[in-house]
Symmetry: C3
Subunit: 207 residues, 3 copies
Amino acid sequence: MRLRILPRNEQFFDLFDAAATNVVQGARYLHEMVENFDRAEELHKLIEETEHEGDITTHEIMERLNVTFVTPIDAEDIRDLAKTLDDVLDYIEATADRMILYDVGKPASYMADMVRILELAASEIVKVVGGLHDLKRPRRLLDHCIEINRLENDGDRVSRRALAELFRTATPMDAIKWKEIYEHVEMAIDKCEDIANIIESVVVKYA
Amino acid sequence: MRLRILPRNEQFFDLFDAAATNVVQGARYLHEMVENFDRAEELHKLIEETEHEGDITTHEIMERLNVTFVTPIDAEDIRDLAKTLDDVLDYIEATADRMILYDVGKPASYMADMVRILELAASEIVKVVGGLHDLKRPRRLLDHCIEINRLENDGDRVSRRALAELFRTATPMDAIKWKEIYEHVEMAIDKCEDIANIIESVVVKYA
Amino acid sequence: MRLRILPRNEQFFDLFDAAATNVVQGARYLHEMVENFDRAEELHKLIEETEHEGDITTHEIMERLNVTFVTPIDAEDIRDLAKTLDDVLDYIEATADRMILYDVGKPASYMADMVRILELAASEIVKVVGGLHDLKRPRRLLDHCIEINRLENDGDRVSRRALAELFRTATPMDAIKWKEIYEHVEMAIDKCEDIANIIESVVVKYA
């Protein structure tokens, strides 16, 4: 009996690893897009493909959930986690899409700062999600959760300054556009924090 | 014993049916308001009345919850569902209210597109919520959940284009106003998706 | 055994009392800042300190949660409650920070109205959280939850009017700035309502 349950657990966690790796890939493309805005169209395409990959993984997790009776962690936590990993990529894609759609021109340096923070948070997500394989040793996993919280605070601070500069220097229309774009990066980072919070609560329940 | 529990279940589900029917009514009025903006004031009044009806139903569900020991689905899911159905109508009313309050003039065709999607999503909500009466046969119910997810994606796509056009053609002040209004329609559609997600998780637990 | 568990319960509830008292302190400083905008910098500092105090309390709740096996209410509800109390202060601090950072000048009277509502909602939070000590008598506690809901509706109404006036009278850039600030006050009030909702659901489970 136990032998049959254990591999099943691993399948869920492997899918989460794939989803997290995909998120960090999307964040990397977005960072590259912001730093090399002349290649924006090409990188936007890559982000769209990454997001599509992510949708497939999410779907796979949900399908597996519907046919699994004994899940390694609560079914609701699996759903939440899959959904929130998906959300990060959705916001990454939406950010890239808006930069092109609104025809904003080269991003200010604050945008690169924010996207760098998002990429760092996404890298922590890979570690946090990987930690699910060994819930018996949660110390490290919780350290990565704390690091994600710190990054979210950083992102918040940078985005406040970015908006203040925008309001001082841009036209009202550009202020509207960039505010919308900054907010999407912030939401992507917030979703990374939500993932950390879900995993923290899983640790509290199972460790 | 069983005979006493079953009717009680149905009472909750009947109240949810009433709440969902009310949501679709509100969405229809909003659609009509956007298509016939010269009747805006009159339709806004009807939407306010519909929202008030919804509040009464929500209140009834909550009151019943407080005096019921054995609920047909988890008490927390009942609360969440009632709350989120209420949220959809709140956003519908807030959208109508803002169009009048901000004195925006006749809506662009994108607004009609978005409100049409909201009306379709609301119609699916009626079906999804109706499916609670027969959780043993979840296949159909899940199909409607998928359709709501598809509609939410549609809404997202339309709203991106609507904003892009707005930023190309409107004054900054009109851009601010309409962005706010579009976002409220989007949030109403998002809440429809949240309802689908809650019901999906109920199905996972009970079916 | 019972003697050992009871004090442990009280420790959690005492920490929540401290967190709620801190929230109302932050709300009072924000109100004072808006009414006496020439002292904005000084009051912003006090709000930052209050927010920092709040972080310490939140951290203490989470740490205690990690070493407690039998919690007086569900561990997840404790986490949610601590997190949401923290969120209120975060939004209060973010509101104060933005007013300074965006160099907005003296707030319109609507801002004072909104912050007054936030202060009232925060005072209700103290009572609602205090009610956790005696979950056996939930009637009063639920009345305070209803009052918070009423205040949230009030805040919503005032903020709609505030925006309408802003769009009639301000420059596009000032409209963008103040809209952002009003939204932060609204989110602080929304989080007060979330706290009421969490506690209502705790009552449903335990009373």
